[in-house]
C-alpha cells in the first residue's frame, strides 16, 4: 500500500539535492508576504527559529506557546551540545561524515536526503547562533571549542558548558523578540492549541485555549506550522519538561496527518535514577559526561559496599569490556540496554538496584579538578542538589530514562505533513532521526528546520495562496472544531470521579515503560493494548477535574493531555508490534543476535511506518514509505 506517501525527494546526486530543489522552489514576493498569515505553534528552537525567520521575511506570523514566555520552551533544558560539520578541529569531519554518522546512529531507518540536508545546513546554524551572541565555549585563541559526543570519533559538538539548549534558545528567543517588536510576529503565550482547523482539505487555523481565562479562541492562517516538540512524557517519568505533551500532533493526526514511527523513542542512558515514588521527573545528566566518566558496577552480585571502598580489580567497567573500540562512548541505545542488562542480572547499585556508577575519579586524577569543574560544573551541582551527593567525591548513579521521541508527524522533504498547508518541524516531525538519534543532532535539526529549510519550502506552498484573502474564522469548519473542543472540555469537567489526571498519567507511564520501553516483545505489547483500553475507559468514567473551565485550571490542562496520551500510547504499541525487528532504540526481544545486540531486518522493515487514523477505537491503517539507500551501504552497527 503506497498511496498517500510521496516524500518528494528531489532527483540528482545526494550532495546537490537541496541546492537543486531550492532553485526550483517558488517564491512569494515581499509585497505579498505581508498579506499571508502563518501560525507557528511552539517556541522551542524549532518554533522560535521558524517564527523569527518568517517574520524577517515579512510574513504575518502568529506564534503560540503554553508557557508564560517563549523563552521557557523545553529546548531550554538541552545540556550537551549541538552538532555541525565545521571540521574546525581538522579531524577530517565533513558534511558527509555527519550525515553518515546520523544515518548509522539512526540504524538506517531515516531518509538519506533529509539527513544529508540536516547535516548540510548545520554549519549555517552555528554561524547564525554565533552572530546572535550565543556564547559557545571558546579556546584561548578566541576560536570556538568543540568536543566529541555520543559515539562519534570526531569533535564536532558545539557547546556552552551544560547549558547549550538554554544559550541557543535565548539566542532564538531574542531574535523572535526583535520581530515581535517590529510587529511582524505576534506572540500568544499561555495559549494551548486544542485542535487543528482544516478547510477544503487544507490546514487553515487552530482552536486555542487561553490558559489564564479559559477562553476558547479561533485563529486562522494560510498555513500552520507545528513545532510542538516530543511526547516523551508519555512515560510519566522522563527527562522532559513536565508540560511537554503530544496533544497538538495527536489532534493533527486525528484530522488526517499521518503519524510516523511513533514507537521510536530514545531511552537516554545517563539520567538520575528513580529515587522514590514522589518523583515527577528524571533529570538528565548530559551524555558529555561519558567523555570523562567511566561506567561500572561491582563484579560481585549485590555488593553493598560504598563505591569508593570497592577496589579497582573488583569493578566491572562493562562498557569498556564489551565494546573496546568505543568504550564509555557507545551510542545511547547500546549504553542503555547494557545498563539494564547488568541491573537485571543483579549487579545494579543503589537502594533500588536500578542504577550503575558513572565515575570521575580517574579523570579528576588525570586532568585535575579544575578541568572537570570547567567542563561539567553545573551538571555536578545539579546532581548534588537532587541527590545530596557530590560527584567530585563519590561516583554518580545513573539509569536510563525516556528521553527523545524520534517518531512524529510524517512529513515530506518540504516538511509538510499529509495535510496540505500543515507543516511539522523539530522534534514534532519524524524525518531525520530514524531509530536511534545521534547525540547533539536534535538541536541542530530543530534549528535547521526553522532557520534554513521551512522558510524556503513554505513559500512554495504559499505561492498558490497569494490571492487568497484572510481566512475568515466564522466558517462552519471553525464552528465545528470549536464545538468539539468545548464538548470535550465539558465532558472532562463533568465526569466528577475520584482519580486525578496525575494518577492516570502515572499508570499510563508504567504500562508504557514496562511493555513499550527499553525492550519490547510481542506478548507484552499485546498485553499493553488491553491495559491501555481499560485505562482509557476508566479515565473517562472516573477522572476528577476540580474547579471550572473558565479560569486558569492546570488540572484541566493535564486532563486534556492525558486523554490524548491514552490514545497515542496505543499507536506506539501498534507500531512497536508491527516492527518485528530491532533497530536502534527499538529493541524487540525476538530479534537479537547471539550476543544480545539489536538485530535489524532490512529485508522486511526498511521502511517508515506511517499510520493513518481510522476512527476512535479502530486499528490504525499502516502506510509504508520504502527507504532507499543509494549512497550508503546498509551496515550492521557494530561498536565492538
Amino acid at each position: 500500500m503506497m498511496s498517500k506517501l510521496d516524500a518528494k525527494i528531489p532527483d540528482g546526486p545526494l550532495a546537490d539535492k537541496w541546492t537543486n530543489h531550492k532553485a526550483k522552489l517558488r517564491l512569494v514576493n515581499p509585497a505579498n508576504r505581508r498579506k499571508l498569515d502563518i501560525i507557528v505553534v511552539g517556541t522551542g528552537l524549532a518554533g522560535a527559529s521558524a517564527a523569527s525567520t518568517l517574520g524577517e521575511l515579512g510574513y504575518n506570523v502568529k506564534v503560540f506557546c503554553y508557557q508564560d514566555s517563549p523563552r521557557r520552551a523545553h529546548s531550554v533544558a538541552a545540556q550537551g551540545g549541538i552538532n555541525a560539520a565545521k571540521n574546525y578541529k581538522n579531524d577530517n569531519d565533513s558534511v558527509y561524515r555527519l550525515f553518515y554518522d546520523m544515518l548509522k546512529g539512526g540504524d538506517f531507518r531515516a531518509r538519506e536526503a533529509n539527513v544529508y540536508r540536516a547535516a548540510e545546513v548545520s554549519n549555517l546554524v552555528i554561524d547564525h547562533y554565533t552572530a546572535l551572541g550565543v556564547p559557545f565555549a571558546r579556546d584561548y585563541g578566541g576560536l570556538i571549542e568543540n568536543r566529541s559526543f555520543g559515539g562519534v570519533q570526531v569533535s564536532r559538538t558545539f557547546y556552552a558548558k551544560g547549558q547549550t539548549g538554554q544559550q541557543c534558545l535565548i539566542g532564538a528567543y531574542s531574535a523572535l523578540s526583535r520581530q515581535i517588536d517590529k510587529g511582524t510576529v505576534t506572540m500568544y503565550p499561555r495559549r494551548e492549541m486544542m485542535d487543528l482547523v482544516v478547510i477544503d482539505g487544507k490546514a487553515r487555523g487552530i482552536i486555542a485555549r487561553n490558559l489564564v481565562t479559559g477562553e476558547i479562541e479561533r485563529h486562522s492562517a494560510h498555513a500552520v506550522v507545528l513545532a510542538t516538540g516530543g511526547y516523551g512524557t508519555i512515560y510519566y517519568l522522563s527527562t522532559l519538561a513536565l508540560n511537554s505533551n503530544g496533544s497538538a500532533a495527536w489532534r493533527a493526526h486525528k484530522r488526517g496527518a499521518l503519524f510516523a514511527n511513533p514507537s521510536f523513542v530514545q531511552i537516554h542512558p545517563t539520567s538520575i535514577p528513580v529515587l522514590n515514588d514522589h518523583q515527577c521527573k528524571l533529570t538528565l545528566m548530559s551524555e558529555s559526561l561519558r567523555n570523562d566518566g567511566r561506567v561500572w558496577v561491582p563484579k560481585k552480585k549485590g555488593d553493598t559496599r560504598k563505591p569508593n571502598e570497592i577496589p579497582e580489580e573488583e569493578r566491572d567497567y562493562y562498557l569498556e569490556r564489551r565494546y573496546p573500540a568505543f568504550g564509555n562512548l557507545v551510542p545511547r541505545d547500546v549504553a542503555s540496554r547494557a545498563a539494564k542488562e547488568r541491573c537485571d542480572a543483579g549487579y545494579g547499585v543503589g537502594p533500588t538496584g536500578l542504577s550503575v556508577y558513572l565515575d570521575f575519579r580517574d579523570a579528576i586524577q588525570k586532568k585535575g579538578r579544575k578541568y572537570i569543574e570547567d567542563s561539567y560544573g553545573n551538571l555536578f551541582e545539579m546532581y548534588e542538589k537532587i541527590t545530596g551527593e557530590s560527584p567530585y567525591e563519590v561516583p554518580m548513579r545513573i539509569y536510563p530514562a525516556g528521553h527523545y521521541t524520534m517518531g512524529g508527524l510524517w512529513v515530506d522533504y518540504n516538511l509538510m505533513t499529509t495535510i496540505p498547508g500543515l507543516y511539522a518541524i523539530g522534534e514534532a516531525n519524524f524525518s531525520d532521526h530514524g531509530a536511534n538519534r545521534l547525540g547533539a543532532s536534535s538541536l541542530m535539526q530543530t534549528s535547521g528546520d526553522g532557520y534554513f529549510i521551512l522558510p524556503y519550502t513554505i513559500s512554495d506552498y504559499l505561492a498558490d495562496d497569494i490571492r487568497t484573502p484572510k481566512i475568515p474564522t466564522n466558517t462552519p469548519e471553525f464552528d465545528a472544531a470549536e464545538k468539539e473542543v468545548k464538548e470535550r472540555i465539558d465532558r472532562l469537567m463533568s465526569i466528577n470521579g475520584t482519580e486525578t489526571a496525575t494518577s492516570f498519567h502515572k499508570r499510563l507511564g508504567k504500562i508504557m515503560w514496562d511493555y513499550c520501553g527499553m525492550v519490547r516483545n510481542e506478548e507484552g505489547l499485546k498485553k499493553a493494548l488491553g491495559l491501555l483500553d481499560e485505562l482509557k475507559e476508566e479515565f473517562w468514567k472516573n477522572l476528577k477535574v476540580p474547579d471550572t473551565a473558565n479560569e486558569m485550571n492546570q488540572e484541566l490542562e493535564k486532563a486534556n493531555r492525558i486523554a490524548d496520551f491514552l490514545e497515542l500510547g496505543k499507536l506506539l504499541v501498534y507500531d512497536a508490534l508491527n516492527r518485528r525487528e530491532s533497530c536502534g532504540a527499538h529493541f524487540r526481544e525476538e530479534s537479537q543476535t547471539e550476543t544480545g545486540e539489536a538485530k535489524r531486518d532490512d529485508q522486511n522493515f526498511a521502511y517508515v511506518a506511517a499510520w493513518e487514523f481510522a476512527g476512535d477505537g479502530n486499528e490504525p491503517i499502516l502506510h509504508k514509505e520504502e527507504l532507499k539507500f543509494e549512497y550508503v551501504k546498509l551496515q550492521e552497527r557494530s561498536y565492538k
Binding site: Q67, D68, G133, Y140, Q163, K281, F452, P546
Partner: protein
C-alpha cells in the same frame, strides 16, 4: 515528615487574596519543594478543594518558570537554587512554611502563586538582541572572541528570567535582569553597533513598565539562583552613561 503550609490563595487578578493553612503529613526529605506542592494538590483535589496554581515546567532549574516566595525569600533559603531544585531536606519536621507569589507592581498576580512576568519579555523586545537576519552571518570563527568575554557572556546569559531579583528588591527593580542581558551582549563585537540604542531603550522600557530604581541593596544578587553578579549593574551603568554621552 510533616509540614504546615501557609499559602497565598487568590482566585484571579481581580480578586482579593488571603492566606490559607494546610497540613501535609508523609512528606519525604528527598522530595523537591514542587513535588511537595504536587502532593498537596493531589490531596486537595481528592477532598474536593481547589488545588494551588503555580508555574513550573522543566523542574530542573533551567526554564525559569517556577518562582515562589518561601519563608520570606525568593526560591527559599538555599543559595543559588530555584524553587523546583529546592529539597525538603532543607526544612525541619513540623515546620510552618509560608508560601507567597512574587510581589512586585510589574508582576501582577494571575492566580494563587502564578504571576505575570511578561514585562520581562517586553524589556527584551525593546532591544535585548543582536540584529541579524537568518542566513546573513559569516563563518562563526571569522571574528575571534576572547575566551574571557565568552565566559562572561555565558555567565550572564545563564539568567533564566525567573524574576527573583525583582521580587527580592525592596524597590522591585529589574536592574539585575537587564544588566545581565546588557553585559551578555556587550561581550561580542557583533553586538557593539547597536549597543547605545539597546541600553537606552531597555532602560526606558524598564522604567515605563513600573519597575523601581536600583539603590544598591544587593538583595537581587543574594537571591539570584544563577549567581548573576551585581558587577553587571556597574557594567549597565557604564554602558548607559556612555550611550547618553553620545547623544
Amino acid at each position: 515528615m510533616k509540614v504546615k503550609l501557609k499559602i497565598w490563595r487568590q482566585k484571579d487578578s481581580r480578586s482579593k487574596g488571603k492566606f490559607e493553612i494546610y497540613e501535609l503529613d508523609n512528606v519525604a526529605p528527598d522530595m523537591s519543594f514542587l513535588e511537595m506542592l504536587d502532593a498537596l494538590n493531589q490531596k486537595l483535589i481528592k477532598e474536593g478543594k481547589s488545588p494551588v496554581a503555580f508555574d513550573h515546567d522543566c523542574r530542573e532549574g533551567i526554564c525559569g518558570s517556577c518562582g515562589i516566595y518561601i519563608n520570606g525569600r525568593p526560591h527559599g533559603n538555599d543559595h543559588r537554587t530555584t524553587t523546583c531544585e529546592l529539597r525538603l531536606r532543607r526544612f525541619k519536621d513540623g515546620e510552618t512554611i509560608t508560601i507567597e507569589p512574587w510581589r512586585a507592581a510589574a508582576f501582577p498576580v494571575v492566580k494563587d502563586l502564578v504571576v505575570d512576568r511578561s514585562a520581562f519579555d517586553k524589556i527584551i523586545q525593546a532591544g535585548g538582541y543582536i540584529s541579524v537576519n537568518a542566513g546573513a552571518a559569516q563563518d562563526a570563527n571569522a571574528i575571534p572572541v576572547p575566551k574571557h568575554n565568552a565566559d562572561v557572556a555565558f555567565d550572564t546569559a545563564s539568567c533564566i528570567g525567573c524574576g527573583a531579583c525583582v521580587a527580592a528588591c525592596k524597590n522591585a527593580s529589574a536592574m539585575l535582569f537587564v544588566a545581565a542581558k546588557i553585559t551578555h551582549l556587550a561581550q561580542f563585537p557583533q553586538g557593539r553597533v547597536e549597543a547605545p540604542e539597546r541600553v537606552k531603550r531597555m532602560v526606558a522600557k524598564m522604567d515605563e513598565l513600573g519597575f523601581g530604581s536600583c539603590t544598591n541593596t544587593r538583595a537581587c544578587e543574594a537571591e539570584c539562583p544563577k549567581g548573576i553578579s551585581i558587577s553587571t549593574i556597574a557594567k549597565l551603568n557604564r554602558e548607559f552613561i556612555s550611550a547618553k554621552l553620545k547623544d
